[in-house]
């Protein structure tokens, strides 16, 4: 099967699942009564609608090619960083560091991916950004909460730019017998992460009893995690045919994605709580902000990228 054919099968499958979800949502909206039930179903339908739009945006970007995909992820980083910094208390002295993060770090990081310059791409933010950003802030001579402010900017930049940029960075891997199909690998990562999120939610709603970390995230349960993780891993293994992996390898990769995604969701939930917010923003109807959708991706992407790079490239 050619990469093109695989892509069409994949889109067809996703479209079928979304169509089914929309129909279920429609039936539920006609049957449900009572205030709280209505709120849940309305939120469900808003989420399904947003999924249609997100899948459409991604599909169009993939069809337009590598540059469109890279630009799209640069925009995702931009919106995610904007949400992160909006909630994070900074002071006027951080203005220069913040400007550099938005207007220099984002374009530069994604330009390095477009240029396939792996060596610099992988250290630009953790090494040079780490040293440069507080150096810019210190020139404003404001020592109040300096370490916290520097850490907050560094964390925001790491998660929203560096980590998320590992998704399109999958395009620069030279995998034997897989040339021209890397975009599918990117889809694979996003699919497994998002399915894992959705399935954990569904299993949690159906069978959830034992809370994992009630202080951080009251909706996460052991039953939800186990059910969601196992089913997402199984689906990931069944999707091996769009990847360079064997079915067993695909199961291992999916398990890694699922576990990292779970930790990402949990950690960013704690960050959100420490900043006193419930959602990162209100950009995506029903889902909250960009960062509410990308939290698990930001943890899963670098690990998936490196596992693939170590084991599947020469």
């Amino acid at each position: 099967m050619s990469a093109q054919d695989k892509f069409y099968w994949l889109m067809g499958g996703i479209g079928a699942v979304l169509l089914l979800s929309s129909m279920i949502g429609w039936v539920l909206s006609r049957r449900v009564s009572g205030e709280s039930g209505r709120a849940v179903v309305d939120n469900l339908n808003a989420r399904i609608k947003a999924w249609w739009i997100m899948v459409a945006v991604f599909a169009v970007a993939f069809m337009l090619g590598k540059m469109a995909t890279i630009v799209m992820f640069a925009l995702i980083s931009w919106f995610a960083l904007r949400e992160f910094m909006t909630l994070t208390p900074t002071r006027p002295g951080d203005h220069r560091a913040l400007s550099v993060s938005f207007f220099i770090a984002i374009p530069l990081q994604y330009a390095l991916i477009a240029d396939e310059w792996y060596a610099l791409f992988s250290i630009l933010i953790p090494v040079y950004g780490f040293l440069l950003l507080p150096s810019l802030s210190v020139l404003a001579q404001d020592t109040e909460h300096f370490l916290e402010r520097a850490a907050k900017i560094q964390w925001g930049v790491m998660l929203t730019i560096y980590c998320i940029s590992h998704v399109p960075a999958l395009l620069l891997l030279d995998i034997p017998d897989y040339a021209g199909q890397n975009a599918l690998l990117l889809f694979y990562l996003l699919l497994v992460v998002q399915l894992s999120d959705v399935l954990q939610y569904v299993f949690g709603k159906l069978f959830g009893k034992t809370k994992i970390a009630p202080v951080v995230s009251p909706s996460k349960t052991v039953e939800g995690f186990v059910g969601g993780a196992l089913s997402a891993t199984a689906i990931g293994a069944a999707m091996w045919w769009i990847t360079p992996f064997s079915p067993l390898q695909a199961a291992g990769m999916s398990a890694a994605i699922v576990i990292m995604g779970f930790l990402g969701g949990l950690v960013l939930s704690a960050v959100k709580r420490s900043l006193g917010a419930k959602d990162w923003g209100s950009m995506i109807q029903g889902h909250g902000g960009m960062m509410d959708r990308m939290d698990s991706v930001s943890f899963a992407a670098p690990v998936f990228f490196h596992l693939t790079r170590y084991f599947f490239t020469p």
Partner: protein
């Protein structure tokens, strides 16, 4: 038109400027919007947050000593925003500095004013100048709408030339009630408190 569309697009892309109508709804009634002032983009943010049909009859008040000094600024202020210029330094003792504003109100337009008179680095507004009081007295039928601009002091603090793109919200409060016989100081403090209450 082109200039204002461009300015609004740029403002939304950079700082969001999403409106939150908390105590009042968009209405064609004649109004004076008064807000805290912390950055260069305040006027644009408030103006962008208004629905298009209201923008046509809503004129921001701009300091003549800043906005009427070179061709680019004048073009933005006059052609883009349809601004009303106000002299912050009174040149002749006899001349009424509020005259351009009262003219605009008499013509039926709404106004956007920043009663602090200058930008303020803090998230909460400082003391208000008397202009708002005099306008409120002369035009008792015009609604006074307090507005709080959130986060803009972080986007573009004094001394910076380019905004950091944080998400800013523009909160519109309930119309300030009129109290017969209220003196100037009390009125101004109550108006300031109405803005602070939205913070």
């Amino acid at each position: 038109m082109l200039i204002s569309a461009l300015l609004i697009g740029l403002t939304r892309a950079l700082v969001g400027a999403a409106p939150r109508w908390q105590g009042s709804a968009p209405s064609p009634a004649q109004r004076i919007y008064f807000a805290n002032h912390s950055s260069h983009v305040d006027t644009l943010a408030l103006w962008s947050a208004l629905p298009r049909e209201l923008r046509r009859h809503t004129r921001p008040v701009a300091a003549a000593d800043y906005w009427n000094t070179d061709a680019v600024r004048r073009c933005i202020a006059v052609r883009g925003l349809n601004a009303v210029f106000i002299e912050r330094q009174r040149s002749e003792a006899t001349k009424d500095p509020l005259a351009p504003l009262t003219e605009a109100l008499a013509a039926g337009d709404s106004l956007i004013i920043f009663p602090e008179g200058t930008r303020n680095l803090q998230p909460l507004p400082g003391p208000f100048k008397a202009g708002l009081f005099h306008l409120a007295e002369r035009f008792p039928d015009v609604e006074l709408i307090p507005v709080y601009l959130e986060n803009l002091h972080r986007c573009m603090p004094k001394g910076s030339f380019f905004p950091v793109p944080l998400i800013c919200t523009v909160r519109f409060g309930a119309p300030l009630a009129r109290i017969a016989g209220e003196d100037k100081a009390d009125f101004l403090e109550r108006a300031r408190q109405a803005v602070i209450d939205l913070a």
